[in-house]
Symmetry: C3
Subunit: 662 residues, 3 copies
């Protein structure tokens, strides 16, 4: 449980660096990320290099015992480089070139730009690969930020045709997989295929899905190029990339396979304000703390992408500049977020950024320091966490470094699949349906029940979980089917699961396709509803509303919830259950708590705004509501805080040894 | 009163065809439309033809006694053809090429594409023109779908300049007609004229109107090209095109002149959800039935375009895939829609589509069969209608085929004019005004009064109607003026009538222009109101609200309704009336019922959601509300159903002979 | 206090001109603006001139004693000219050429088009420079209308690079000023700089601000080109341009420096309906009068741009055609607007337009005459004003011409700065914040207190005002700082003042930057709030709400208002005050009335909808509400109207001599 910070020595005079390093130490910061936007400082002219500033700043940081994460500067190629390779620029869906003047001005599919990246990363890795200050390398920065995964230029078209040819081998296979006979869309060769933008009406969904997959694979290849170089020169260093919130345009599990650690950039207030996932009430209520499940959802998701290893690369420390509205966090919110990240297994939380820059696009983005170099509000909260972490270690009688190895896994697994996300959002049937929203609301309900959740990929092992939730696993591969068949825990399969084949067709036996073996039922029709038409649900397991997605299915399985016409909504028995509709929070909690009990888990019904997380014997509690709340876990002793949690309050409890049991 | 279905043999294995044909027969289907998207199956490579699949499927259908409507496949030219003629692609208003990858990827003005169509249609017509299975040919498919009437490419510009030169002969005539002196917009030759898109601010409305007319005429010419070929080879077959709902971008009356029958594609739920014409309350209330006047309005409109002959080419049989939300229809809704189409004179109702395709864009569009080949919900409702139709024939003591010749005309005529629609929407003055909406609301009021309405063009005869309504006939030609002057029935002229000349100028005597002879009044000023500012109306004929459009006019005519400042709103006497404002449903119904009485019609005030239609002695009744309602016509006996109509209920009554009268 | 009208002789037959001139005289009109859209009538073919119509119409007007304002026709170059210089067309932010077909189809930066303007204006000025009918020349028409200031074409890029090179001299200065190191945005030469559109995410705000300044300077240069010619040939004539409402895209103060008079085009109803600045309630309440402060705000703003001289070039006389909805004005509203313009110092009010054109884009735009040549409603109201002005002169015992020289200055100055506007809107931090809105609401509060306000530039003298308000002066130059330091009146500095340097950086000492000398405080953090989260404010000076922008600042100054956490909102003492938040009308009025009292002004709390303005001894009162209101100034006698003001009522009072005082 370490603290870090993002730092830009190139923005400040050389004279200030020592002072900065000292101040970091004083607060309790141990990690410093640098370099990721510095290409034009390193190579202001083609092949004319200035390494001195980087040599020196690394030296200063090292002298002060700080550990450096060095970013490759490939998210911001300089103007001269772009002018040399104009085809490296992306094109948007409307066919417009996305020009120089901000950042991320490249398409992943550009082989010319990949060659420039290879050149720069090799130079850097040769020079600093074994630098003693450097403990980690970050590849590029925030892949996909500003909607940069899908690009519609010549380089992208070339990559797509190549990708299709590799996948399908012959064009008839593609025509068949896509159902191109439908509107005479058949191709005679891969060279006839175009990108799926600017069509008269929507392109074939199979076409769109394959294009999304291809673009995601370009990211994987682009990242791997850098990884391969870094593995060669920077052995022993953790390789990492910093992912973003609510971003699903590439397959993070695939990128994560090539890296050592997953990290993400967490801006709870900006995302609350910006995202459609939240209701107006939530946006109002959590204006200064962010939504109670925002951080946790991503921690659990990205810990999965990081094969268990998680960092927070950028933690919001004050108002940001990029959301529609940018309020100040509540007092204590920065501490809350930091502790919560630790409770979900983060090894390190790094604040973005050290000092607010008085210039350029992010000049209104707060840092730990104000633009004038004085401490901003968050500095004290970070320092408090650093102190508390030491106290916790001492209470537990262990070394601070040992805290990292506390267990972080949950007991419930929720499957999140990027391919399913693309697939279901391509044809949502009801504009109100979004895969991500539905997964998030399922996660929220689990967490409101006090359960500790792991968010896993469709490839991940799940045998050891007591409970497994598939919110909407549209394509279920044979391999996954057979693992599900042998799963012994409690399984809940959600609506739209098994509803598509790999190539985006409806399965021959109708949904849930291959899952019908596990859960004998047939989805006959889908009633895709607008927001203004929720329907009543009731039955043995409770009552409430369904909305947006409502499957009409037939089955012999026991009916636990039904709609007002008596049709089944939730069915199942023993260890296996199927939910055919998106249901509201009330129904979700009622159903999930029943399932949790069947799985021998002990769900809590937590007070409003309270969330908890377990790590081994430790129970962490957080209060996101604006009023004080009481939460006392059974048979546990407080290490930090206590049962009464003020707004933004944090408590850490240790479970008593259960001596009498067994 | 026949049933039909849209069928795509090319989507299914040869082995399935016989089974499909048998199942169609079993349900009671007699017509099958095929072929309209099959170009790439027929001609996968340039000039390499595969007719076998079509020969064989026609043979199978014919063997099972099914009558075929064969579609020309010109809505979906294959990729190789588009690559050969890239200039055939349309450009959107923003200047972007609308590419291959879905359908309708051509502009009507492309002479190159017309030549390809001529080639394909000739080949097809030569081969199948006299095929015994084929009773009808459909030209292309859904002209204008996906906003494809207006196109802004080179072919379109060429066509427009040519069209203008033909119309105006010399450029000074154009300059004068358009008032180009206004902003120095004068042209020196037709070659200087550009398309009216991407101008700095709105283009001259005369310019825009002429462009719309020109584009509409391209559709007429494109359709006529196919018609001319088919007349040559396929004599004795009905030529038809399938129009769409709420679509006004080309003149359907003009296209209809070249065809034998008009048909349209009716999707009551998709249009309810998608269209701005409906309020939030209506969208909620009629979610599962569609709005009560949606089908009827289009039946009456297109029966007019078909010179009395109407088919439904595509009838929604379940949830569709293309609206923002796609709910399931109410039980009985498919039967309701089918019967209602018959009651408005449809000779045939064809469901779209036979079997839900498990692939491509419309994989979530329901059919009579599910993707797995089993019957979907609508199959039973279609079968029920087939049975009931036989019962009705037997009750009436006639052959089923004789039902088609029942009278279908109404007693009230409502004039709908595509040119008026374009003209008034180009400059609505109040964003809340739309010509189509206003016509629809007038139609709705007439129908809520139980009146049977014909929707007629401005060229159609109307002498025989007891009542004639001109909702907003902006340009009134000399020919129409003189026919109105000699009209003997009750005439209601609505706001904006006579407000423009042919070339989009205000008439010299101010509106209502030439109608001032009939209705002596002068519109001095227009008060174009936002939705939030309706005004009170009251007077001899009732009270309520006016909204959106409010003319301030002076007249000596008797005032029947006035606004709150005492200015006239509805005036007239004897047989002629002028309404100067858009008024609400309450005022409309009160006024129209008075006029209907003057016209010796007997209006009903029907219960909410109930609609009726007369055909000769038969009275059909329909319940669109979600609760049971009572409707019993005076002096009539029930043939099907009765006075109590469940939700989605249908009843057919026969008027008793009025023996004592006369 | 004169009346005028906009007239287009080229739209009407020669025979009508005399009749028009006579009718103008009869109504009391003395000024006529002509010519500004007539290029194609003058020069229908290149170098082929038709001056006759202009010679003759000038002669007719002159014969009838009418004074002419002649517009240069450069807002509407003919088609042949555009075809000759296609590069003169602007490009929009999306990169699309903005074509011919309406008006304003040029970019100010086009040197080719400037050369054509030079040619045309020289021809015209040579011919008519000393024409006896002509008293004034208008340059072009409504600079910037239809969003035509920012253009993104080649001419614009060339101008921008040149402008930057002039400003920064060397590229390193630019890189430093913009903080280009931030995302490797450094340039190596001015030729590498691009326009700030179509970047991947937002461009550098310094880049955007400089581009806006450059575009504004193109307008200045374009206008000056015409001014220089006119000064040479048309000496003794007033040079004027007609500005627009709520338009801030160029620096009107800079353009105004080159002209003799400022004029603007006032459409109170169109702007009410169209602009986001107004709430739904205001849009409803003032539908037929416009918002009570709309006219006044612009009169006071543009009088400042005109160095004290103000005309209304276009006054709305009835419904217009270009707003989303176009209702009729209330009876009396045209008189109200005209009198109000006089009360704010307008020398002349000219109605747009004389006669409604029955053709082209503005055919639904009312005039003083209807399209048929008869008087429209506004003619009588204009005539009434002409009569009343004479009566007022006679009551005052002066000649009508002497009325113009009545004092027009106010006692409170509000600083409005175009550069601040651009700067603060580039990064609003809360989408709810807009510089213009905030200035307008401050102005509204001052005027609801009955104060007479001058709106001044940041360069204007302000020593003589009793009170000075800086709503949000983002950049405060050293020159302005020193003038503020020596200012003796009551000073209120609003939020965001002093928050930026000239090159869009945060000042080293944090905001309010240089103002911290005057007002010792430091803005540490900004809490930028959404509309749905206003915060409570209370304290010595009242209570209410703050919203949108909420600075968290530290200071030792006395706290007059604080937020609910006790942090300061309004601070100050003696003559100097700082307000750190945008506050609501209630708080604004309470605070400004206190400040006004400190400044020895006597604020009124006026009834709803009542507004007043003083000119010397005269007090003008206006009733914008829809019900009668009472307003009686202390110690004054009525000259026109009285204490009871009907809706749209106007009263003029004369202050009694204060004999006993002194
Ligand atoms: Zn970031
Ligand atoms: Zn269709
Ligand atoms: Zn204007």
């Amino acid at each position: 449980m370490k603290l870090g910070v993002c730092y830009y020595p190139e923005h400040w005079p050389r004279e200030r660096w020592v002072q900065d390093a000292q101040a970091m130490q004083k607060i309790g910061i141990e990690y410093v990320r640098i370099g990721e936007f510095s290409w034009s400082t390193i190579e202001a002219e083609p092949e004319v290099f200035n390494w001195r500033w980087l040599d020196e700043s690394l030296a200063v940081l090292h002298e002060h015992g700080l550990k450096v994460i060095l970013g490759t500067p490939t998210a911001t190629p300089p103007k001269w480089l772009v002018d040399k390779h104009p085809s490296m620029l992306a094109k948007d869906e409307q066919g417009r070139v996305r020009g120089f003047g901000s950042r991320r001005h490249y398409t992943f599919a550009s082989l010319e730009y990949r060659e420039e990246c290879r050149r720069m990363v090799t130079m850097m890795a040769e020079r600093y690969g074994q630098h003693p200050a450097i403990v980690s390398w970050q590849t590029d920065n925030e892949f996909g930020c500003h909607d940069t995964i899908l690009s519609y230029g010549d380089a992208d078209l070339r990559a797509f045709r190549f990708w299709l040819a590799e996948k399908y081998q012959n064009i008839d296979a593609l025509n068949k997989a896509w159902g191109n006979v439908f509107w005479s869309m058949d191709y005679r060769s891969f060279d006839e295929v175009e990108l799926p933008n600017l069509t008269v009406t929507e392109a074939n969904p199979s076409h769109r899905l394959d294009f999304q997959r291809c673009c995601s694979d370009q990211v994987v290849a682009y990242n791997r190029l850098q990884v391969d170089i870094l593995r060669q020169y920077a052995s022993g260093r953790d390789l990492v990339h910093n992912y973003m919130g609510f971003f699903t345009a590439f397959d993070h599990h695939k990128v994560g396979e090539d890296l050592d650690v997953a990290s993400w950039d967490t801006y709870p207030l900006g995302f609350l304000d910006q995202e459609d996932i939240y209701t107006a009430t939530e946006k109002h209520e959590y204006l200064r703390t962010g939504h109670p499940d925002f951080g946790a959802f991503h921690h659990d998701l990205y810990r999965g992408c990081g094969k268990g290893r998680l960092w927070i690369m950028e933690q919001q420390p004050g108002p940001v500049n990029w959301a529609p509205h940018n309020p100040s966090p509540a007092d204590g919110a920065v501490r809350l977020w930091t502790w919560e990240a630790f409770s979900h297994g983060a090894e390190m939380v790094s604040y973005f950024r050290w000092r607010q820059a008085p210039f350029a696009q992010e000049q209104m983005h707060a840092g730990l320091l104000r633009p004038n170099g004085e401490y901003a509000e968050a500095a004290a909260e970070a320092e408090q966490v650093a102190t508390e972490v030491k106290r916790l270690a001492s209470e537990l009688g262990v070394d601070v470094d040992a805290l990292v190895s506390l267990p972080s896994a949950g007991s419930v697994a929720l499957m999140f699949d990027y391919d399913a996300c693309w697939s279901l959002d391509i044809q949502p049937q009801s504009k109100a349906y979004r895969y991500l929203f539905w997964c998030y609301r399922m996660y929220e309900a689990l967490r409101e029940l006090g359960l500790s959740v792991d968010i896993i990929s469709s490839k991940a092992e799940f045998d050891h979980y007591q409970m497994l939730v598939l919110p909407a696993q549209s394509y279920v591969s044979p391999e996954l089917t057979s693992r599900l068949e042998s799963y012994k825990g409690v399984l809940l399969v959600g609506p739209r699961s098994g509803s598509k084949t790999e190539s985006y067709q409806i399965p021959e036996n109708l949904p849930p396709g291959p899952l019908a073996k596990l859960l004998p039922l047939t989805v006959e029709r889908v009633d895709a509803l607008p927001e203004h038409m929720p329907l009543h649900v009731n039955g043995l397991w409770g009552e409430g509303m369904l909305k947006h997605w409502h499957e009409q299915f037939k089955t012999e399985l026991p009916v636990l919830l039904q709609d007002s016409t008596g049709d089944p909504v939730l069915v199942g028995s023993g260890q296996r259950y199927y939910l055919g509709s998106c249901v509201d929070n009330k129904v979700l909690k009622a159903s999930l708590s029943r399932l949790a009990e069947k799985a021998n888990l002990a769900p809590y019904f937590l007070p409003k705004g309270i969330r908890i997380r377990q790590r081994g014997d430790l129970i962490f509690a957080f209060n996101y509501s604006s009023i004080p709340q009481i939460f006392r876990p059974t048979k546990a002793l407080p290490l930090i805080g206590g049962a009464k949690l003020a707004s933004c309050g944090v408590a850490v409890w240790k479970k008593e040894q259960e001596k009498n049991k067994k």
